[in-house]
Symmetry: C2
Subunit: 171 residues, 2 copies
């Protein structure tokens, strides 16, 4: 099954000139979504993953499915102010301004091997910050996986030196 047929291009979202990769058609098709999650998780089946971390909010969708596929727990990495308990926070630069992500300090810890997932890799800032969050708990971010990689943005170059895997590449 060609998974790219389930990714919808939405022009000028969230702002003029940006073509947004909409994964809702993929999510809506149980067979296609299962195939995508199998492909995303496959390289990590024997990697002794302790938990899957997903990034707020679309990374939650991919992350929970990947955690179930791998038979492990899920932990959320969220925008600042959303997690209720004590957190580690990492800020990162945007084109204009900055943003921050957080992880619960007790979400994972020393000895844990964490797979971090998101829907799309664009410039890589969020995913790199998420990996730094995981490291601050003492756990090891041993892999990064996304459904869609926007190769033309070269976000891969900003990622930490861990196993990176993508299901669909947009050149």
């Amino acid at each position: 099954m060609d998974l790219t047929a389930f990714i919808r291009d939405v022009p000028d979202f969230p702002e003029p000139g940006i073509v947004f990769k909409d994964i809702t058609p993929l999510l809506g098709n149980a067979v296609a979504f299962a195939q995508a999650i199998d492909a995303l998780a496959e390289p990590f089946v024997d990697a002794q993953i302790s938990a899957v971390a997903g990034i707020d909010a679309r990374g939650f969708l991919v992350g929970v499915a990947a955690a179930q596929r791998l038979g492990v727990g899920f932990l959320p990495i969220r925008k600042a102010g959303k997690l209720p308990s004590d957190t580690h926070q990492v800020s990162y630069e945007l084109e204009y301004g900055s943003d921050a992500v957080e992880i619960h300090v007790d979400a994972c810890g020393t000895g844990d091997r964490i797979l971090i997932v998101d829907d799309v890799l664009a410039t890589g800032g969020t995913l790199a910050a998420a990996a730094e969050c995981v490291s601050m708990t003492g756990a090891a971010p041993i892999g990064l996986a996304v459904l869609i990689e926007l190769r033309f943005l070269a976000g891969r170059n900003r990622l930490p030196n861990v196993d990176f895997h993508t299901v669909i590449e947009v050149v």
Copy 2:
């Protein structure tokens, strides 16, 4: 397994006087989370569900897992401005001010039977608005399910007259 042991009370979040029900310990335990999702989905196994709708953002976590459990697709209901394509929008009142949720107009349609899920039922405003969103597509919101119901807020009284199911009741 007692699932309530995996729900953490966080006092004074998101504001003073509120005790927040934190589901992250439940999400982090694969066995407990699977048990919770089995319990949430069980009444709907033979209900010919077409898709599960989950509400942004913690409802995504519960919703994707429930969709996989039921073998159907998932569709997101999001805060205003987050969905990239054409949407129906429903506003609802908060204690101070109002909020709104949206659904893609093509997320579902006539003949579809939709189970709507969220993590917590509080006052019921969001879940009722989500059900109205689903109805605007022509689909039928045939069930509502949450992990945790805060009975003392009586949100159940604000819900439309469809099958409602909760896994954990807080009295």
